[in-house]
Symmetry: C2
Subunit: 144 residues, 2 copies
């Protein structure tokens, strides 16, 4: 669980000549505790309740650090804000409801394989990918 991520972060901090601070620890913990895809602001507001002193800039800087060291990835679901997501071991993609904003994660190995084939046919080496399906969940479909 999170112990592993904390070690990873600590290792990255050390390897880059950075410093371990209370804020960074707090932010990492809050980030890992959150099952969502928080934006900087959401995480900042959450942290603020317990730790009023913490600054928005520090939260954002730390989230970028997490992205650099592979603990988080940056997502953009078109709402104008970057969202940060914990990197699970497995890659996964997203179903996004355009009605209520619900985000469902999924993974599909067949799709991944086809992606590799496509890349190969264009002589590309894939480093990463992003797949999002936008639509309506069953609830929103009823409502409209």
């Amino acid at each position: 669980m999170s112990t592993e991520q904390k070690q990873k972060f600590a290792a990255y901090i050390a390897s880059q000549g950075l410093k371990a601070t209370r804020q960074r620890e707090l932010i990492l913990e809050a980030f890992l505790a959150q099952a969502e895809h928080p934006s900087t602001e959401e995480l900042y507001l959450g942290l603020r309740k317990e730790h009023p002193g913490i600054g928005y800039a520090t939260v954002h800087r730390t989230l970028k650090l997490l992205a650099e060291c592979g603990i988080a990835t940056v997502r953009n679901f078109g709402d104008g804000a970057q969202r940060f997501e914990a990197c699970a071991g497995e890659h996964h993609d997203h179903l996004v409801c355009t009605g209520c904003g619900l985000i469902i994660e999924f993974e599909n190995l067949q799709i991944e394989k086809l992606q590799e084939q496509v890349a190969k046919s264009h002589d590309f080496t894939v480093q990463d990918h992003r797949l999002e399906l936008y639509g309506l969940c069953s609830n929103c479909r009823k409502g409209e």
Copy 2:
């Protein structure tokens, strides 16, 4: 070719009670002439050369109109700016080279079908999707 798109735009304009203006025509033409995925700013700067009077806001507003009526789609490749792309009849996805920025379009019906299946299994109705593969093209792979 573009005549079709112009008619589509004209029809949309009429259906919404909007007005056909010289600027809108110019912007549509410039957009269609461009084979790239321009941002508002890029298109604006291009247009400015021939038509110095034109305003940034008008370009952006018109691009949004084009997106509304299905002539353009909004893309976000992570560089912080919205990019607009002409909708070909067929949907297609992108291979993006993280080395040189090269963007290659592709389409793959098998992937599309699998996407539909995934959505159905979560009781979603897909309206749109976005698939991007990030990696290195053959040139950049050699260089590094």
